[in-house]
C-alpha cells in the first residue's frame, strides 16, 4: 500500500477544513471534493447533520458507519440525486450542488449503486458505451447521415469501452447481456461504466456487498489500480476490513453526524467509533483487531 504520501496530503487538507472558502480561490491546491456543512432531513429524520469532509486528491476515501448512519444520503447529495437542505459540495472548487445529475457527471463525479443498476438487456459493451455519453457529442444528424465525425467518435467510444472492459476484467463477456453476467462481474461492469464517464472522483456505493473473499480481494486490487491511475475514489463500505486496508482516510458517520475522520489507524482506535459500531466499549478489541 502506498498510503503514506497521501496521508501527508490529507493532513494538509485537514488543516484547511475549517476555512473551506479558501478552496474556491485556490482550487488547484485544495482537495478534490469538499463537502461543506451539509444538512438533510427526511420528514422528521435527520439523515445528515452538518457534515463537512474534504477528500484529498489521489486518495481512496472511505465513508463508514452503521446502517442508517446517512452514508448513502451523503452519496446522493454529492452526486446530485438529492438536494441538501443546507450546505454544498465542491469538486475542485466548482459547485456541484444545484446541478442536475448529468451535469454533475460532466463536471467529473461518477457513481455506482448499492444495489447494482445496470442496463440489463444491453450488452456489457453497450453499458460501458452509455457511460461515455457525457464525453461525446454526436446527435441525430450525425447518427442519420453517418458523418465522418460521428463515425470516428463512435469508433473512439467503442475502443475506449473495450479498454475499460479489459481493465475491470469483463472483456470476455463484452457481447453478453449485462443482466446475464454473474454477480461479481456485474459489480465490475458497473465500475467500468462509471469509469467511462472519465470521472475525477469515482464514488462507489458498497462495491463489495455480497462478494466472497476472493472477489473482494480482486476488487481491492481494481480500486487501487483506479486510484493509481489518478482517479480519486470515494468509497462507502460495510466491510470494515476492506476499508481499513484500502482507504487512505476514513470518515465515520453515525446518526447523520460525522463522529470521526482521519487515517484508518487513528479512526479505528477512536472510542466514539468503537461505541457506534459495538455499543459497549468492552467488546471493541476483536473488531478492530486485524491491522492492515
Amino acid at each position: 500500500m502506498s498510503a503514506r504520501p497521501e496521508n501527508a496530503d490529507g493532513a494538509d487538507a485537514a488543516d484547511n477544513a475549517n476555512n473551506a472558502d479558501h478552496v474556491r480561490t485556490a482550487p488547484a491546491a485544495g482537495p478534490m471534493l469538499a463537502v461543506r456543512s451539509v444538512r438533510k432531513t427526511f420528514g422528521g429524520v435527520q439523515a445528515l447533520a452538518d457534515v463537512s469532509i474534504e477528500v484529498p486528491r489521489g486518495t481512496v476515501y472511505g465513508v463508514i458507519g452503521p446502517n442508517g448512519a446517512g452514508k448513502t444520503t451523503l452519496f446522493n447529495v454529492i452526486t446530485g440525486f438529492v438536494a441538501p437542505d443546507h450546505g454544498d459540495c465542491l469538486l475542485e472548487g466548482v459547485r456541484l450542488t444545484g446541478e442536475p445529475v448529468h451535469r454533475v457527471v460532466e463536471l467529473g463525479v461518477a457513481r455506482t449503486f448499492q444495489n447494482i443498476r445496470l442496463f440489463h438487456q444491453m450488452s456489457a459493451l453497450e453499458n460501458v458505451m452509455v457511460g461515455m455519453h457525457s464525453r461525446s457529442r454526436a446527435g441525430v444528424v450525425g447518427a442519420v447521415f453517418r458523418t465522418p465525425g460521428a463515425r470516428a467518435e463512435e469508433a473512439r467510444i467503442e475502443g475506449r469501452a473495450h479498454a475499460l472492459l479489459e481493465q475491470v476484467g469483463v472483456a470476455a463477456h463484452a457481447d453478453q447481456p449485462a443482466g446475464s453476467l454473474p454477480y461479481g462481474l456485474q459489480r465490475r461492469l458497473e465500475i467500468a461504466r462509471a469509469l467511462a464517464c472519465a470521472p475525477r472522483l469515482l464514488a462507489l456505493d458498497e462495491p463489495a456487498a455480497g462478494m466472497n473473499a476472493a472477489e473482494t480481494a480482486s476488487l481491492r486490487e481494481l480500486i487501487v489500480s483506479i486510484r493509481n491511475s489518478g482517479t480519486t475514489v470515494l468509497l462507502i463500505e460495510h466491510d470494515v476490513r476492506l476499508v481499513m486496508g484500502l482507504c487512505d482516510r476514513i470518515a465515520v458517520l453515525d446518526y447523520g453526524r460525522l463522529i470521526a475522520e482521519g487515517p484508518p489507524a487513528l479512526v479505528k482506535c477512536d472510542p466514539a467509533v468503537i461505541e457506534a459500531y459495538l455499543g459497549t466499549p468492552v467488546a471493541g478489541s476483536p473488531a478492530a483487531g486485524p491491522a492492515p
Binding site: T79, F81, P100, V101, H102, V105, E106, A110, R111, F113, R117, L118, F119, H120, Q121, M122, S123, E126, M129, V130, G131, H133, S134, R135, S136, A138, G139, V140, G142, A143, V144, R146, A150, R151, E153, E154, I157, P177, G179, S180, R193, A194, A196, C197
Partner: protein, 368 residues
C-alpha cells in the same frame, strides 16, 4: 458499419452471394408488389398494401417513443392528426391554399415534432401508468380541438372534416391519375405505393441508424433504468424530448401522406382506438425491433381485411352465412391479439436480446 448493414439486411454470416441474391429478390418483390397483389388478390388489396406502408411509418414512429425510449404513449395518433390536418389545411379549397408537397412534407414533420415536444415537456417526470394517462389525454385533446375549432373562426371545419384535399403532385406528376410508362400503366394506388415505399424505406433507415447510435444507446439506457442513465451522464430530459419529437415527426409525415391519399380528413379518424391500434402493432411485432414492428403493422392492417372473407368462406363451406362476418371480425381480431401476447410475450419477432430476456424456452435464441 458492416455489422449494422448486415443486421439491416439479413442474418450475418450467410455467404455473400446468397445474400446479394436475396437482396435483389427482395428489391424486385417490393417493386413488383402492387402488380402481383393486383393480379392475385384484386385492386382492393393494393389499397391494403398502401395502408400497410402508411401504418408501418406510424408504427416505426411510435416505436421510437415506446420501443427505444420506453415511454408509453397512448395518444400517438395526435401527431398523425397534426400532420394530416396541416396538409389538409394547406392543400385544399378550405383556405384556398395549394402549397406544394415538397414544402408540406417537411413542414408536417416539423410541426408534428413541435407538438411532440409540447406533449413531452410536461410529462418528463412521469413514468409508466401516469405518463400513459397524460398522453391519452393529449391525444383526446387534439381530437376534440379538431372537432370544435369551427367557431368562432372556422379553422378545422369541425366534425364535417376537410374535403377535396389536393392529391400529391411531384414534378407535375399527379399521384391521383393513372400514369403510363411504355406498356405499363400505374393507377393511383400504385403511384401512392411507390411514394409510400420510398418514404417508408427512408424512415426505416433513419430508425435503424438512430438505434445504433449514441442517441439510440441513451434511449435504450433510459428505457432500461432511467436513474442509472442519469448517473451515466445522460441528459434524460433532452433525450426524452428528442424521442417524442422524432416519433411525432414520423407520425406527421404519415399524416400528411394520409390526408392526400384519402382526399378527406375528419376528427373521427384520429380517435383513441387508432392510437391503441398503432401501439398494438409495435407491441405485437416486437418492441424496439424494426423488422418486428413492420411485421406487426402488416399483420394488423391486413388481418381485418382478410377476415372479411369469413362470409364467403361460410357460404362455400355450409351453403349459407351462419354468423355475420362483421360480428366475427372484432372477436377474432381480439382473440388473435390475446393469443399472440399469451404465447409470445416479447412479440412475434422480438429483437434477439429481448427474446433472451423474455422468451420462453421454446423461443430460445440459438447459441452464439
Amino acid at each position: 458499419m458492416l455489422k449494422q448493414a448486415q443486421r439491416l439486411i439479413g442474418q450475418p454470416g450467410r455467404n455473400p452471394l446468397a445474400r446479394s441474391v436475396l437482396v435483389v429478390l427482395g428489391i424486385a418483390a417490393l417493386l413488383l408488389a402492387p402488380f402481383l397483389v393486383d393480379a392475385l388478390l384484386g385492386r382492393a388489396w393494393v389499397r391494403v398494401l398502401d395502408l400497410v406502408l402508411l401504418y408501418t411509418m406510424l408504427a416505426l414512429g411510435l416505436n421510437i417513443v415506446v420501443g427505444y425510449a420506453g415511454l408509453l404513449d397512448l395518444g400517438y395518433v395526435a401527431f398523425f392528426a397534426v400532420g394530416a390536418y396541416l396538409y389538409a389545411l394547406c392543400a385544399s379549397p378550405h383556405f384556398g391554399l395549394h402549397l406544394p408537397f415538397w414544402l408540406l412534407l417537411p413542414a408536417a414533420a416539423l410541426v408534428a415534432g413541435l407538438f411532440g415536444v409540447l406533449l413531452g415537456a410536461p410529462t418528463l417526470k412521469l413514468r409508466g401508468d401516469y405518463l400513459a394517462i397524460v398522453t391519452l389525454g393529449f391525444g383526446e385533446i387534439i381530437r376534440i380541438f379538431l372537432n370544435n375549432l369551427n367557431a368562432p373562426f372556422n379553422l378545422t371545419n369541425g366534425p364535417q372534416g376537410i374535403t377535396l384535399i389536393r392529391p400529391i403532385e411531384i414534378a407535375g406528376v399527379s399521384m391521383a391519375k393513372t400514369q403510363t410508362i411504355g406498356p405499363l400503366s400505374f393507377p393511383s394506388l400504385y403511384n401512392y405505393y411507390y411514394l409510400f415505399l420510398a418514404l417508408t424505406l427512408l424512415i426505416i433507415l433513419i430508425s435503424a441508424r438512430l438505434q445504433h447510435s449514441r442517441v439510440g444507446r441513451a434511449w435504450a439506457a433510459i428505457r432500461e433504468d432511467e436513474l442509472a442513465a442519469k448517473a451515466s451522464g445522460v441528459n434524460t430530459h433532452n433525450l426524452k424530448l428528442l424521442a417524442f419529437a422524432m416519433g411525432a415527426s414520423f407520425g406527421g409525415i404519415a399524416g400528411s401522406l394520409y390526408a392526400s391519399f384519402q382526399g378527406f380528413v375528419s376528427p373521427e379518424s384520429f380517435g383513441l382506438t387508432e392510437s391503441i391500434m398503432i401501439l398494438c402493432m409495435v407491441v405485437l411485432g416486437g418492441m424496439g425491433h424494426i423488422r418486428g414492428v413492420i411485421l406487426g403493422a402488416a399483420i394488423l392492417v391486413a388481418l381485418p381485411e382478410a377476415l372479411r372473407y369469413i362470409g364467403p368462406l361460410q357460404r362455400w363451406l355450409f351453403g349459407q352465412i351462419h354468423v355475420e362476418p362483421s360480428d366475427l371480425r372484432l372477436l377474432l381480431f381480439g382473440l388473435a391479439l390475446v393469443l399472440v401476447m399469451r404465447l409470445r410475450p416479447a412479440g412475434l419477432w422480438p429483437s434477439p436480446i429481448r427474446r433472451r430476456e423474455l422468451g420462453r424456452p421454446g423461443a430460445a435464441e440459438p447459441p452464439g
